[in-house]
Amino acid sequence: MHAKKHRSTDVPMYSRLNRRGLFRGQRTNRRGLFRGQRTNRRRRALVTITCVTVILMGIVIAGTMLGDARLATQLEQRNQAPSMTHWFGTDLLGRDMFVRTVKGLSLSIQVGLAGAAISSMIAAVVGLLAATAGRTIDRMISWLIDLFLSVPHLVTMILIAFVCGGGLTGIMIGIGLTHWPSLARVMRAEALQLRSADYILISARLGRSRYWIATRHMLPHLVPQLLIGFLLMFPHAILHEAAITFLGLGLSPHEPAIGIILNESMRYLSNGMWWLAICPGVALVCVVRLFSILGDRLRLLIEPGRAR
């Protein structure tokens, strides 16, 4: 009775080969890219991560390799709608929008990378300090976090970009200073949990200083968390970078930042030049989505229990 019921529900999921042999009992995938193959979530995540990384690296490298010559103004080819020669069309000066977009995305990714790296470093330091340096410091830090969360991110970034007097540095610092609080909270919670672990209690009893314990015992444990936090921060960092350059703060209009390209496109929308806004925007959305997929999948690999 039992055996029969088991078969009737599960048989369609097994392939014929699966019933004997090495992978006996392992399900084949029913949908998606790996249909009909025997893979598990982990293996699929690895493949996805590799593909996404290759694509994103490709954009960055292409953006830095493509010479400015490709951006030369060709006035006889201006205002063209997307075609096979110009995938994203051309702008008012006859510049190829696809090249501009790739260059812009490359710049955005680099700025986002720097900003998110600054932010994760701040988060790690602050989180560790809060967890190990005593109650007063902990209170001060949680107040500081509240302070940073009390002003909308975009307003803080406008302020910082203004204070830095424009330029890439202002944007990087702006992203770095606005994104750390939530990750710092995670770091603090993790470090607090570690604090009562046996090996750390023993280490403290043996006379190691708090600084030693924080850097030698806790930090290595927090690295995976930090990496995940860093990657999950990335989409936000790029979106904020695009937003702040869109607002016109920071970079000069000659830089090919993605926000500047989109800001420029606003002026020509009423003339029906939709591709100036749509194509780079779609590319930006794709890149951001790829980064969030990357973060999600990496989390699946590093801490399978907690991923959704």
């Binding site: 909308p152 307003v155 203004f162 204070v163 007097g165 695009a242 703060l249 989109l262 929308l269």
Partner: protein, 333 residues
């Protein structure tokens, strides 16, 4: 009863103290930043006329705005004026900062409240639907939309809507808060609503995603609990199950998220206003940042902090009123 009022009073007092501390700290930080900045406010004020302004005039301008005094004195001066409710004079609008902020905040508030309510209702509904139909087509549509929107910049969504509704279909106006070329007295409420639609829609479409995802997650938690399993065993399902066991349990977190989302709402409004040239506070923030209007920028920073603080406080307050556990012991106070 007396105890409750006493609790309430002390809670409010604590909140007020925190707010004052926050604003003071924020004003010190922004003021220091402004002083460190390489941008010379006198230069920013003069702008394009730099060639025609001599050193004596510069001196006079600096004196007029009180920029020649040492920083600490400047701060104390500004602070004492702030306590009296005077935030200084905006350099680009040539009007008191409080007036500029007040007038623009009304516009922004209209925009934000419309999209706030819409976002809350629709987002909650979508989250509930997704959770009740978990794994089915509806769920996949909703979560797919949410993840896609989470990677979409607000301003690009605005551009997209602009292309579709203003350029291609021509249904809605291209931007601004009121029709161009119409006297202020002749602008009707319908005109204003007409101009409000696109920015509000932009903000709403973006804002729905986090609310729906959050609601879905909370409801899934509830649905996997044992009391729901028991209710299911008794034959309850569908809408009745949700109304009896789900609604109350997810309402509180949903409301909290709704009130603590003021910060993102403000950030989104900045972008939407910029795209649609909507004359709100966000646009003023961008203008002041671009053109170096220090008093206005500082005023806006403080104002936005106040706005976010009020949101968080309302969330706390709601918690106390809705959740009887918080009321009785006052444990959370």
């Amino acid at each position: 009863m007396v105890n409750m009022i006493w609790n309430m009073g002390s809670w409010l007092l604590m909140k007020l103290l925190r707010l004052i501390l926050l604003l003071v700290a924020l004003s010190i930080i922004t003021f220091t930043l402004m002083n460190v900045s390489p941008i010379d406010p006198v230069q920013a004020y003069i702008g394009a006329d730099a060639m025609r302004v001599g050193p004596e005039q510069r001196q006079a301008i600096a004196e007029y705005w009180g920029l020649d005094a040492p920083p600490l004195q400047q701060y104390l001066h500004w602070m004492s004026a702030l306590v009296r409710g005077d935030l200084g004079t905006s350099m680009i609008y040539r009007a008191p900062v409080t007036d500029v902020i007040g007038e623009r905040f009304v516009h922004s508030l209209a925009l934000m409240s419309v999209s706030w309510i819409f976002t809350g209702l629709v987002g909650f509904f979508m989250g509930v639907i997704a959770a009740m139909y978990k794994g089915r087509l509806l769920d996949r549509l909703v979560t797919g939309y949410c993840y896609l929107i989470a990677s979409t910049p607000t301003f690009w969504m605005g551009l997209l809507l602009l292309v579709v509704f203003a350029v291609w279909l021509g249904w809605l106006p291209f931007g601004l808060g009121v029709p161009a070329g119409v006297l202020a007295e002749d602008v009707t409420l319908a005109d204003r609503i007409h101009h409000l639609l696109l920015p509000a829609l932009t903000l709403s479409l973006i804002g729905i995603a986090p609310i729906a995802l959050h609601t879905r997650e909370k409801l899934l938690d509830v649905l996997s609990s044992e009391y729901v399993l028991y209710a299911r065993a008794q034959g309850e399902r569908g809408f009745t199950l949700w109304r009896r066991h789900g609604l109350r349990n997810i309402l509180l977190p949903a409301l909290t998220l709704q009130f603590t989302s003021f910060s993102e709402l403000f950030g989104g409004a900045v972008l939407a206003e910029q795209v649609f040239s909507y004359p709100g506070l966000g646009q003023a923030a961008v203008e002041s940042g671009l053109r170096g209007d220090v008093p206005l920028l500082m005023g806006i920073v403080l104002c936005s902090a106040l706005f976010v603080f009020v949101g968080n406080m309302l969330a706390d307050l709601l918690y106390r009123f809705i959740d009887p556990r918080m009321r009785k012991g006052g444990a959370g106070g």
